[in-house]
Amino acid sequence: MSFREKSAWVMGAIMLATGVFYAQLVAGAPQAPVIGPLIPYVLAVIVLSIVAQAGLAIASPKEADAPADERERAVIDRAGNWSGMVLGFGVVSAIIMYIGGWTATMLVHAIVGALIVSTVAEYALQIYFFRKAV
């Protein structure tokens, strides 16, 4: 397994776990100010990402230091393209729901949720393209 595929597995797992954490925080107080669940979520993502990436870099320093090659760039670009569509669909859906009567708080949570889902999708697609398609 290449360094970038390992990184995609780890980051995908982190985004999934922190996404569940965020959903639990929001479910616990749905109408509370947005900043409440957002700060612990962002901190959790930053801390876990730094720890995970540092661990991967220590385990494979040479690969971590090397830039992505042409195939890896193609995989990352393709996965980013598809996940952007997921994000767009989520944001547009959230805006439609807001027009239909959602509160601004629900709109923000839905947009953050779309961002989380699209990021998880991006890493999942990277793994798929690394293994199967490219």
Binding site: E70, R71, F129
Partner: protein
């Protein structure tokens, strides 16, 4: 990206002929990862023209001696 490209190659054969050069050594010499060399050898990935030329020049042959069109 999903379909197997219709391009054949002799990369593995040429590696064997050149002192059994490792995939990692070839990758390093032409600027790609070992996993990309594996994907090229398995026919899952068609390299860029630049990488194709780098591989061919490294082995001292022409690009058409390394890569071909399926069925030809």
């Amino acid at each position: 990206m999903g379909k197997r490209p219709p391009i054949t190659n002799r990369v593995r054969e040429l590696r064997e002929e050149h002192d059994r050069m490792s995939q990692a050594a070839l990758g390093e010499a032409v600027g790609v990862t070992r996993h990309t060399i594996i994907a090229i050898e398995q026919g899952r990935y068609s390299p860029s023209l630049e990488t194709a030329f780098r591989i061919a020049r490294l082995f001292g042959v022409g690009v058409e001696d390394v890569f071909g069109w399926e069925g030809e």
